[in-house]
């Protein structure tokens, strides 16, 4: 059997690996995302035909296409706003088609807070260029120069009121027009749609029981499926009572291919009953053991690849105080509220999969490889699911749907994972360790800093069948490929590992550990959550050593105007200066620029620590966010509020538990997350709009700063520094010694 367990076993047996050293000095900042001289803006560079993004028909219909997917982050509404703005129509006049391998551009994954930068930039420019084409075509017909015409409500309009509908301007004739590098974009000061809070188009169905999710699809003749998942990584199925289960009520098919086991039935609960009977009857050969004694020692003992991300020396005053500290984070899960789901239909040798995968094109390639089908015979259509927050089990469920659909051709097969499967089989956010050493001089300036981080890969996304979990268990299995580090400046485990502050002497190293004892992949913000937690905790420790106020200390070491603006805005909104803490309360602050090149976000929190129990509650939070031009400010605020609450939950409560054979976080009682009692009294988010500036993305900006702000507030409240995530009640109680 293949999968992470095998590589782990190899590694645990070996324990000694050759150290491969690479040396890559990454730039601290990468500016030009709108494209250099010859590059086309955003995703237009890879998909340059205007018609791939904006399609007009002679009846006046306007359709916008994106290769990105709605994940609950509100991207559909924001993309429609951009197209509507440049085309001069109301948002309701447009329809939008999202990620679909048959209809939309290939924009890879909807991940990394890149959707507005990639797709938003492409759609905005494509819409502007289509508008200009329409004006040029209308010009001779109206006898008015194009630059004196305007696009309004689906017409090209002249000053004297004469107008021609878009549909009459030979819409089909721009189908082969390639985008130009530079567009005539609207002046942001004239925006009618962008920058105004627009109600999200997906919410009405979600609050009234409409068809909103892949879970809600009811295709004609559809059947329901469930699978039995292996009880541990690499476990092998030796036997299951297929014959008896086949005779159970409603059962249409019992599927077995190697250790992949599933049932297809008429109704969903019949499938569940049959799945339970099948699971009870199944006999497994145990898989590979898990490292459950000293996890971080085990991880550090694995072979690793050293990546030097920053190395500079400067002549400075010697450090008056030097500190060093080590920070860790346990494995944490995506924990979607709705277990992963997909619908597959195999018909006439072609497969269609409705999926909530973050990347329909990579998924198509992976499924095609797994089924040994040509990719053109596989279509993947993104359909919303429960929030995923990264690479969860969506792709695995899609693989199950593909396998089961091929076994029962001609009928749509809907598969949904059970809660225990979602909890135990998804790829987690990797456990990580970060070690920082730094010194401040006698005047309280940081003079030197050394940082090192250790992590598994933060992306094992399907780029092939070997990253689909079900494919590991087929009779003819696919092995998980050895992961490669995501290069900086984006980075994976080293994302945000370089302090953005003024530090004369700096050395930052990442230790990339290819062998994965526990299945891992991308969890919202990747390594940035841990690195920002570590760096921003450490900055507070340095500030404390320098006798400086944490906010003033940060400002003293920040030169970027926009960074300083969010730090000041969050501090002001929180009331940092005049803060007086009631007994047991503390204030904490943290800041990061996501990936050191995207959105700026600062978070201030007040916590209350219950001395007797260690129970910590975030009482209130104030944040400031600058993600460039704000397209839908309320959508942006919603993302930051949610990011703060989710990061608070990770920070205070969450750690995947396992013993030597299996994951033991099997449900919400064994993997607790934040509940209403834990929610702050208030969260204030200040959006710093930068009209005309490039989109920087928002979705992941709050994850890192929130964690450190909480740790810093706990330190302020109790006088004790906690460095191991999660900062549980038990750890806090133990640290304050009651």
């Amino acid at each position: 059997m293949t999968g992470p367990a095998n590589t782990a076993r190899r590694a645990f047996l070996a324990r000694t690996g050759a150290l491969v050293v690479t040396f890559s000095l990454a730039p601290l900042d990468v500016a030009a995302q709108e494209g250099g001289a010859s590059k086309l803006p955003g995703s237009l560079d890879k998909t340059p035909l205007l018609d791939s993004w904006i399609r007009l028909t002679s009846d006046g219909t306007i359709t916008v296409f994106t290769g990105k997917a709605e994940l609950g982050q509100g991207v559909k509404t924001a993309l429609i706003a951009l197209a509507a703005e440049e085309l001069g129509v109301v948002p309701a006049a447009l329809s939008l088609v999202t990620a679909d391998t048959q209809r939309t551009p290939n924009e890879g994954y909807t991940a990394g807070s890149n959707s507005m930068k990639d797709s938003g930039t492409a759609i905005r420019n494509a819409a502007a260029q289509v508008r200009e084409l329409l004006l040029e075509r209308a010009s001779p017909k109206l006898g008015v120069p194009a630059d004196r015409l305007r696009a309004r409500d689906g017409y090209v309009v002249a000053d004297d009121g004469r107008r021609i509908a878009f549909g009459e301007l030979g819409a089909e004739r721009y189908a082969e027009v390639r985008a130009k590098p530079v567009s005539k974009l609207k002046d942001p000061s004239t925006y009618a749609v962008v920058g105004k809070s627009l109600p999200r188009i997906d919410i009405p169905a979600k609050v009234t029981g409409g068809v909103a999710y892949v879970q809600d699809l009811r295709l004609p003749g559809m059947l329901h499926a469930r699978v039995v998942c292996p009880p541990g990584y690499g476990a092998r199925l030796s036997d299951a009572d297929v014959a008896s289960v086949s005779k159970m009520p409603g059962v249409v098919n019992v599927f077995r291919d190697g250790s992949v086991l599933g049932v297809v039935a008429r109704y969903e609960f019949e499938a569940i009953r049959a799945m339970r009977a099948l699971a009870t009857s199944a006999r497994w050969e145990r898989g590979t053991p898990l490292p459950n004694d000293d996890l971080f020692a085990a991880l550090r003992a694995l072979p690793s690849q050293e990546i030097v991300n920053a190395d500079r020396q400067a002549d400075t005053a010697p450090a008056a105080r030097t500190l060093d500290a080590t920070y860790t984070r346990a494995y944490q899960m995506h924990g979607s509220i709705g277990p992963s789901c997909a619908v597959g239909l195999f018909d006439n040798g072609a497969l269609t999969v409705w999926t909530h995968s973050q990347g329909v094109y990579p998924l198509r390639a992976s499924i095609a490889e797994m089924l040994r089908m040509p990719p053109e015979r596989v279509r993947c259509i993104h359909t919303e699911g429960s929030g995923c927050y990264g690479h969860n089990a969506a792709d695995d469920a899609a693989a199950h749907a593909a396998l089961l659909a091929r076994a029962v051709p001609g009928r749509p097969i809907r598969i949904q994972w059970m809660r225990e499967q979602e909890h135990t089989c998804e790829p987690y956010g990797p456990a990580m360790l970060a070690k920082h050493t730094g010194g401040v001089d006698a005047s309280g300036n940081i003079v030197a800093w050394t940082g090192a981080s250790w992590s598994n890969s933060h992306s094992t996304r399907p780029g092939g069948a070997g990253n689909l979990m079900p494919a590991w268990y087929l009779a003819t299995p696919f092995s998980q490929p050895t992961p490669k580090p995501i290069p900086m400046p984006e980075g994976g485990g080293d994302r945000n590992s370089i302090p953005i502050y003024t530090v004369p002497t700096l050395r930052i190293v990442h230790h990339f550990i290819p062998d994965m004892p526990i299945r891992v992949s991308a969890l919202r913000s990747l390594g940035a959550y841990v690195n920002v937690f570590a760096i921003e905790s450490f900055v507070d420790e340095l500030a404390h050593a320098a006798g400086a106020d944490p906010v003033a200390f940060r400002l003293r070491h920040l030169t970027d105007r926009r960074a300083r603006a969010v730090v000041s805005a969050a501090a002001t909104r929180f009331g940092w200066e005049g803060f007086t803490s009631p007994r047991g309360h503390g204030r904490g602050f943290a800041f990061a620029r996501y990936k050191n090149l995207a959105a700026y976000c600062a978070v201030a929190v007040e916590v209350a620590v219950e001395h007797e129990t260690g129970r910590t509650r975030v009482v209130r939070t104030a944040a400031a966010i600058d993600s460039g031009q704000a397209v839908n400010p309320d959508g942006l605020r919603n993302q930051i509020e949610g990011g703060i609450v989710q990061s608070m939950s990770w920070t205070l409560f969450e750690a995947v538990a396992f013993d030597s054979t299996r994951i033991t976080s099997v449900d919400w009682s064994t993997y607790p997350i934040a509940r209403f009692a834990d929610i702050p009294d208030r969260i204030d988010v200040e959006v710093i709009d930068r009209p005309g500036e490039p989109f920087l993305g928002t979705g992941e900006a709050a994850q890192g700063p929130t964690s450190a702000a909480i740790a810093n507030a706990i330190a302020h409240a109790t006088g004790v520094r906690l460095r191991n995530l999660p900062l549980t009640r038990e750890r806090i109680k133990a640290a304050i010694g009651v």
Partner: protein, 163 residues
């Protein structure tokens, strides 16, 4: 055959009595609101109202529901004519992925039906069983509070507004 009263209509259901209500709502009645989240009564994505009380439909067998009044989010209002609570969720933009939201609305509706103007502490305590992973809690609370405040404005003549 079990007769269920769902959103004011009676349905004869051909399913085993131990089938949880959730699957009957989704499969037999084609209602989308109640969601499968855990099947364990731990997350509240499946919450519906039975005889005025919020219940987990994923662990409630239909055998105990004959003759009882079942309400789902579809029974509150429609996209065209949302109920006051649905309207409040729209006004507050109280959803991210939204998978938990129908359950949140039904649990909150049960509270508001019994106590039209609950305090913030009462709202939080009542909502405790339901989980949201996107972190939309602040907006969910605001939406519920919005309806509670409307009720206290219309029904209470003086000074006892919920906060």
């Amino acid at each position: 055959m079990i007769e269920l009263d769902v959103n004011g209509r009676k349905h004869a259901i051909d399913a085993d009595g131990d089938t949880p209500l959730l699957y009957v709502l989704r499969d037999h009645l084609a209602l989308n609101g109640a969601k499968f989240g855990c099947g364990l009564g731990q997350c509240g994505a499946c919450t519906v109202i039975v005889d005025g009380k919020a219940i987990f439909s994923c662990v409630t067998p239909i055998s105990v529901l004959a003759g009882r009044v079942i309400r789902t989010v579809e029974g509150l209002g429609t996209i065209e004519q949302p109920s006051p609570l649905q309207r409040a969720f729209l006004d507050e933009q109280a959803a991210q992925c939204g998978y938990c939201i129908a359950g949140m609305i039904m649990r909150a509706q049960a509270l508001l039906d019994a106590n039209p103007s609950p305090t913030d502490a009462e709202i939080r305590a009542h909502m405790e069983p339901n989980l949201c992973r996107c972190g939309t809690h602040m907006r969910i609370l605001r939406a519920i509070r919005r309806v509670a405040q409307q009720a206290s404005r219309t029904s209470k003549p003086s000074g006892s507004q919920a906060t």
